[in-house]
Each structure stands twice: as C-alpha cells, then as structure tokens.
Symmetry: C2
Subunit: 233 residues, 2 copies
C-alpha cells in the first residue's frame, strides 16, 4: 500500500532578486504587502523607542499613502522649521531635499513679511501724497513754490490770467464776508486714512496636531487611524 504523499501545500516564501518586479500584478501585490509591512515597522519603532516618524509613499500606480506619528503635520513642521518644541535639535544645513524645501519656505515667509511691510509703506506714502494734493487744492500754502521766474512768456500770461481770476474771486468773497458779517470757519482734514494693517499672517506655524498613528491613503481620503492598539476610521 502506497503512502499517498501529500503535495506540498505551499512552496513557501521564495527568494526574490532585488530588482524591479516586471509583472505588473505581482508588483502591485508586493507593493501592498510591503507598504503595510513598512508602516507596521514604523509603528513599532515609534512605540518601542518613542521615535517620531513621517512617511510618504507613492505606489507604482501613483497613489499617495502616508504615515505619521504623532502626525505627518508635526513631523513636517519639526523637520522643516527646525523643531518647534526645541529638543536642542537644529537642522543647520544639508543638501537633503526636504531641508532645502524648508529653506525655501523660510525665504518665502521672509519675502512675504517684506512685501507686507513695503506695501504698508507705499500706502502711507500714497496717503501722504493724497493729503498733500488735497491741501494744495484747498489751502493756504498753495501757490507758494511756483517758480514764476522760470516761466516762459506764454505760461506767464496764462498764469497771470489765473491770478486775476483768483483775485476777482477773493474780492467777491471778501464782499460776501463783509456783507454777511459773520465769521464762519470751515474745518478741514488733511489726515491720511487709517489703514489698520496689523496682524501678521504666518502660513507655516500650525496648531498642534493630535497624537496618534496615522495611516493615510491620501488620494481618496479613506484613511484609517490607529491609536494605541485600536484602529479607527
């Protein structure tokens, strides 16, 4: 009687060459499993050692997945801006891409501040000028600096005409005033408008994020969320 040898149920884990898996389906399956493994390892690392970790992965198909503890937000902030809660760590410089990005951000931020300042300056100056123009149109000190001695004949004549008109106007007004015998005074304002440009915007400094392990399948927003041993979604 022959023992029927059971066929092996599985050939077990096979060794694979460390190179791109050409079969598309196999590649996709491998990606799913290994991405899960990677995130699990990251979770363990953060639990066992209290490490803070952020991961972003793009699948071969181009889908973004992310992991973060305490949150990707926190990691990004700490890495880019040199650690919000100051553990004595300061990233001083590097050609690691992310940090370059951080510098760009700082630069953008600074430029933003600079522009805001310049804009306010320009507005003030504009207000001053408007006030000046207004004052000149209305006021006492008006034709003071006209450089008559540089005028040509034609200009001089038209200017003279204007003066005569004004003189007539003055005379008329004087009569009016005398007739009415009153001392009405008109108050005028030369004060530039208040612009109230105060609060500084800062796009980089985020409110603290909740602490936990985030596993994000970023594209379609179905993300599960692990806190301690439990999973939420």
């Amino acid at each position: 009687m022959m023992m029927v040898r059971k066929k092996r149920q599985s050939m077990g884990r096979q060794k694979i060459a460390m190179k791109r898996i050409e079969n598309e389906e196999a590649r996709q399956v491998c990606f799913s499993k290994r991405r899960t493994g990677l995130f699990k390892k990251a979770t363990e690392l953060s639990i066992l050692c209290g490490a803070e970790i952020g991961i972003v992965v793009f699948s071969p198909a181009g889908k973004p997945f992310s992991f973060g503890h305490p949150s990707l937000d926190y990691i990004t902030k700490r890495f880019l801006d040199g650690d919000g809660n100051d553990n004595g760590v300061k990233v001083v410089g590097s050609w690691c891409g992310m940090f370059v990005e951080g510098q760009k951000l700082l630069q953008l931020n600074q430029e933003h501040a600079g522009l805001t300042e310049k804009l306010e300056e320009a507005r003030k100056r504009r207000a001053e000028l408007e006030a000046e123009v207004a004052a000149q149109q209305v006021g006492s000190g008006l034709p003071c600096d006209v450089e008559v001695h540089e005028m040509g004949a034609e200009e001089l004549e038209s200017f003279h005409k204007r003066l005569e008109e004004l003189r007539r106007g003055v005379a008329n007004r004087r009569e009016e005033l005398e007739i009415l015998c009153m001392d009405k005074k008109v108050a005028r304002e030369g004060v530039p408008p208040q612009l109230g440009y105060g609060g500084g915007y800062n796009g980089l400094y985020l409110t603290p994020a909740p602490i936990g392990w985030f596993y994000g399948h970023t594209q379609d927003m179905n993300m599960s969320f692990q806190f301690g041993d439990r999973w939420y979604s």
Copy 2:
C-alpha cells in the same frame, strides 16, 4: 561517558512586548537597528515596486534621520503640490497633516502674489500722485480749483497776500522777458518713473533632484548615499 552539552551560545531573538522600552540604552540600540531595518525595507519597496518614498525619523534623543527616493525633495514636492510630473494624481483634500501644510503653502503663495500685485498698484498710484503734485507746483493749471468761495476771512486774507506776491513775481518776470527779448522755453517732465516689476518669484517650485536612495543623518550632515547596489558618502 557523558556528552558535554554545549551551553546555548545565544537565547536567540526574544519576543518583546509592544510597548515603550524603558531601559534607555536598550531603547537607543533598538532604535538604531530598527531604523536601519526600516530604511532597508523602504529601499526594497522602492526597488521592487518602483515606489517613491520619503521618510523622516526623529530618534528618541531628537536626532533627525531621513530617507528619500528619488529624493526627499522630490517626494515633498510631489506630495505638497500634487505631483509635478502629473501621473494623473491630484491630492484634493485631507486632514492628513502634510497636506494641510501643502494648502498653507498654496495659500501663502497666493497671498504672496496678491501682495506683489497690490504693492505694484500702490507704487503706481504713488507715482501718479507725485506727478500730479509736481505738475501742480510748476504748472499752468495750478490754482484752478481753489475754492475761494468757501474761505473764511483769515484764509482769504493770507491767500490774497499770496496772490499779490505772485502778481508781483509775474510782473517782474514779464519785465525780465521783455528786457531779454528772448523766447527761452523750459521743457518739463511729468512722467511717472518706470518701476519695472516683472518676474514672479515662486519658492515652491524646485529644480529636479538627482535620482537615488538617500539615507540622511540630517543633523551632522554625514549622509551616505546608495545608488543601485553601491554606497557613497
């Protein structure tokens, strides 16, 4: 004769509870090993599946380590700005921290553009006003809109005085001109200065980064660099 049983050389890998390792030294050792393991897994994932991965890890002591393929820079850019090389992936929204960061960046960027525009506007307006003031101080149309009929007695008197002075000036100038019997003309400019504000700055769009696997020990910049099977530093 007794066989001398060799003492076990090692008790082998022990199962450990998935909770924070309290012994500081053990925790640090575990971190080193597992960080290495994590980065290796990430490398394999990117090789086998062509995935693009970025990782940032802060050690329990606070030291930052990073991994990136093709580079952290690239990953950051692709994740934040929604994929530069457009694989049809667009990250539309999420409460995943990193992406919030991305939105902040976009916002900051837009605000930057807006401010630049406003600044230019303010500058133009200022230039116009300056021109106007200049024109009024020098020119023909000067005292035209003075509202003499609204002046009070005092203002009227001082204005009248100014008019007289000007009239004297005009008379003098007329004499000068007659005497010199010449028709000198003075050209004047009222054109606002050219401001030339053109090129747009954009802090977010980076030049493409080299492709490879970067393992970064960010703090002291000793980073090794793997390309294919080989390591460089």
